[in-house]
């Protein structure tokens, strides 16, 4: 069972992800609506899989990825962003993210992407 944390500033997207992930493989340990909260939650509950939005208030996704990876390099981060820009994707991967999907996404997209990062 993987411990999943959802980071997104949109409540809608958080609920959407929470509804769509595969409950047999993941256990939701909490959601955060900005980067700073995500770091706090990470330190409290140490998830091993994180879905990460990129444009968020307080601490943006790229910095958040960097901080999470510095705390635990084995953290598997899936970026879920509306920014369909290759350079931001490249940057997220450089910082240590494992996967990248763009909004809007389907339930199957999300499941496949999550499966792929934990299979690695």
């Amino acid at each position: 069972m993987h411990r999943l944390m959802i980071v997104d500033d949109s409540k809608l997207i958080r609920q959407r992800i929470a509804r769509e992930y595969d409950a047999d493989t993941f256990e939701l340990i909490g959601t955060a609506e900005n980067g700073a909260d995500a770091i706090d939650l990470f330190e409290q509950s140490s998830p091993d899989v994180v879905t990460m939005d990129l444009t968020m208030p307080k601490l943006d996704g790229i910095d958040c990825i960097e901080q999470l990876i510095s705390r635990d390099p084995s953290t598997k981060i899936l970026v879920i962003s509306a920014l369909n820009d290759t350079s931001i994707g490249i940057e997220a991967l450089e910082k240590g993210a494992m996967g990248f999907i763009t909004k809007p996404f389907s339930g199957a997209d999300l499941k496949a992407a999550l499966k792929e990062i934990i299979d690695d």
Partner: protein, 706 residues
């Protein structure tokens, strides 16, 4: 590993055989040299036997002499004893095998002589030597005694004499036998040396053969490998030459590999790019921000933790617009780069980049978008047309076209200062406002919205203190849009009209026939003609009338193309467009009168040459030639066969064209008029009265049947 072994099995086996042979030859060599030593010793010992037999005989004779001279016997006794003992020992060693003194000191082992010849010699020798040695031994034993009684002296003297006599009769035979033995041994040695030499030679030959086989096999293997490598190389080259993608490898240091496909050079219109660094290569074609992105991306490709599939989605060079200098001309292209890892045993060794020119795809894509946009617009327009009051549309288009022209003229009128520009804007506002009202009445929201936009802009403009011509830019753009909308409406309307006609019109075939006629004639006459026709869809016309009108029309078309329109070469020199134009039109006026007109932009009618022709035919008198009017000439042409064409062909030249026209017109009671200017064109207009005589009777007949 086992594969490698398999491939070289033959070579390895031969090498093993070769080594065994070499070792065998070496071993044999060692053995034979030992054997040679042994046989050589045997020969020496056999030779020594000869000497020993002589010495034995000599010391015996010395002993005999000294015995009589009463001298000391001890030296000779010792000599005799040693020589005979050694002879005996050696002979026994030859006979039974065993040790004897070596000729070089120490002991030597002799093998038993087993051959028949050897045994014969030895048995003869033993036969002679055995009793002799026994007697010698007895004699020596006696002689060695320190004090010998007289009887002993006598016995000794007898033994000596006995031995001497034995020796005298037999020692030569013994010597001879020993000589034979020596020769025999020598023979044996030579024979065994020969054998071993033969074996050695054979061994060496076998190893040489083996070695040759090894060389052959290795050479063959190398050749095969070379051939394979060459074939593979050729294949790779072929692939690289023919593949329609630019292919190259990138290593960890971003260096581009030495093998590159031909297409790469074609795409970049430059020479060999091998060994270049990706950095320098890419920096020539992309912006610096893109360059950084590409380099970061390629670096990620070398990171084994990043999934290749994911990276493919992030490829920053999926669609890269570039400008390439091609034969001095700057052309723009769209390229697609794709990258994939080259892995070996799970290790990323490099990245294979492929570049394809997707300009065509992009162009098609754009065209498709453009086409979709256009059809969307048309669809929108059709829905507008459907929602608008269709009868009022043509009127609206006409009036709004005029309005737009007026607005454009207002823009065009010079304005010297801000207030003049303001007046300009105001007058535009009034015009636009009217159009806006009309269009919204008809439900043409596209137009009314644009008009509204213009009003808004003008309102904003008037708030400014200082207005200049450039403030009108946006207004002109909106005017352009309004004009385009009208153009689109017109094209949609004609398309809609065209579509709605075809199913019900009985004689669209006739229109088609006229078009076909025009194309056929212009092809035959080698002329380029734009032919347009309309109005022939009048299903209510009586079939006969229609037939006549059609004959008139075809005559007019033939005439216009073969006489009127000049060849495109001539038209070019005249400064006209290469393509001539012929417009054929049938109209029915409200009164019911039919107007058939045919207009061309050709040479016009040269009345002077007609006059000449007419006077030649005697139709006009020479003295009247200057007084005859063009109207009269036309009548002449319609009534007589007159042609200015020198050669007759299928289309014109017999002068029949206009006379046919004239006769049919007469039949229909039609009036033919002609407008023409030389070099500019001609227009025939035939007005056919509502009740053509023939038509009237037809109608009557039809009515009586009804």
């Amino acid at each position: 590993m086992s594969k490698v072994f398999g491939r070289y099995a033959a070579i390895i086996a031969t090498v093993v055989v070769f080594l065994t042979l070499v070792l065998g030859v070496l071993g044999l060599n060692f053995y034979t040299s030992f054997q040679t030593e042994v046989t050589a010793e045997a020969v020496n010992i056999a030779g020594r036997q000869r000497m020993l037999s002589q010495r034995t005989a000599k010391s015996l004779s010395n002993l005999n002499y000294k015995f009589y001279t009463q001298d000391d016997l001890s030296i000779d006794i010792a000599e005799l004893k040693a020589a005979s003992a050694l002879f005996d020992r050696s002979l026994k060693a030859f006979t039974n095998g065993g040790e004897t003194n070596s000729t070089k000191g120490g002991a030597a082992f002799l093998e038993q002589v087993t051959s028949d010849r050897g045994r014969e010699i030895l048995s003869q020798a033993n036969e002679l030597w055995g009793p002799f040695y026994d007697r010698l031994s007895t004699m020596v034993d006696l002689a060695e005694r320190s004090s010998l009684p007289i009887s002993g002296q006598r016995q000794l003297s007898g033994l000596i004499a006995d031995n001497v006599s034995y020796a005298n009769s037999n020692i030569n035979q013994i010597l001879k036998l020993m000589n034979d033995l020596t020769n025999y041994q020598e023979g044996q040695a030579t024979a065994s040396a020969d054998t071993s030499r033969l074996i050695q030679t054979l061994g060496i030959i076998a190893s040489l053969v083996c070695f040759a086989i090894i060389l052959f096999l290795i050479f063959g293997q190398l050749q095969r490998a070379d051939r394979k490598a060459l074939l593979a190389q050729r294949e790779t080259r072929k692939i690289f030459e023919t593949v329609d993608q630019g292919l190259f490898l990138i290593d960890r240091d971003f260096n581009m590999g030495s093998q590159q496909s031909k297409e790469l050079e074609r795409i970049f219109s430059s020479g060999f790019l091998a060994g270049k660094n990706l950095h320098t290569f890419i920096s020539d074609i992309v912006s610096s921000t893109d360059l950084e992105k590409v380099l970061r991306y390629v670096r990620l490709l070398f990171d084994p933790h990043k999934k290749q599939k994911l990276l493919q989605d992030l490829n920053p060079l999926k669609k890269l617009p570039i400008q390439v200098q091609d034969q001095g001309e700057l052309t723009s292209k769209y390229l697609r780069f794709s990258f994939s890892r080259v892995e070996n045993n799970g290790k990323i060794e490099g990245v294979l980049a492929s570049v394809s020119d997707i300009s065509n795809e992009i162009r098609l894509e754009n065209e498709l978008i453009e086409e979709t946009k256009r059809s969307e617009k048309q669809l929108e327009m059709i829905s507008v047309l459907l929602s608008a009051d269709a009868n009022m549309l043509p009127e609206f288009i006409k009036s709004s076209d005029r309005t737009y022209e007026k607005i454009n003229q207002i823009f065009r009128n010079p304005a010297r200062n801000s207030s003049e520009f303001k007046i300009k804007a105001d007058s535009v506002l009034t015009l636009v406002h009217a159009t806006k009202g009309e269009s919204s009445l008809l439900g043409l929201t596209i137009i009314s919205e644009t008009c509204h936009e213009i009003e808004d802009k003008i309102d904003q403009l008037k708030l400014k203190n200082d207005i200049g011509g450039d403030d009108f830019l946006s207004l002109t753009i909106l005017l352009d849009r309004l004009i385009s909308t009208n153009e689109q409406m017109k094209s949609v309307m004609s398309a809609v009209a065209g579509h709605s006609q075809s199913p019900q019109t009985i004689d669209s075939g006739e229109t088609q026939n006229l078009i076909k006629l025009a194309t056929d004639v212009s092809r035959r006459q080698h002329k380029e003609v734009a032919f347009s026709t309309g109005g022939f869809d009048m299903p209510h016309l009586a079939p006969d009338l229609r037939k006549n009108i059609l004959s008139l029309a075809s005559q007019l078309v033939r005439n216009a193309i073969s006489h009127g329109i000049e060849s495109s070469d001539i038209r070019k020199t005249l400064g006209k467009s290469e393509q001539g134009s012929v417009k054929l039109c049938l109209l029915q006026e409200n009164s019911g009168k039919l107007i058939l007109s045919c207009e061309d932009d050709g040479a016009g009618i040269n009345f002077e040459s007609i006059k000449l022709e007419a006077s030649k035919n005697g139709l006009i008198k020479a003295e009247d030639i200057d007084r005859v009017s063009s109207k009269q000439l036309l009548q002449l042409m319609l009534k007589n066969r007159l042609s200015t064409r020198t050669a007759a062909d299928a289309d014109a030249g017999r002068g029949a064209g206009l006379s046919v026209l004239g006769s049919i017109s007469d039949q229909l009671g039609a009036r033919v008029s002609l407008q023409t200017r030389q070099g500019v064109g001609a227009k025939f207009i035939i007005s056919i009265p509502k009740t053509a005589p023939e038509m009237a009777t037809k109608k009557l007949t039809e009515a009586s049947y009804a």
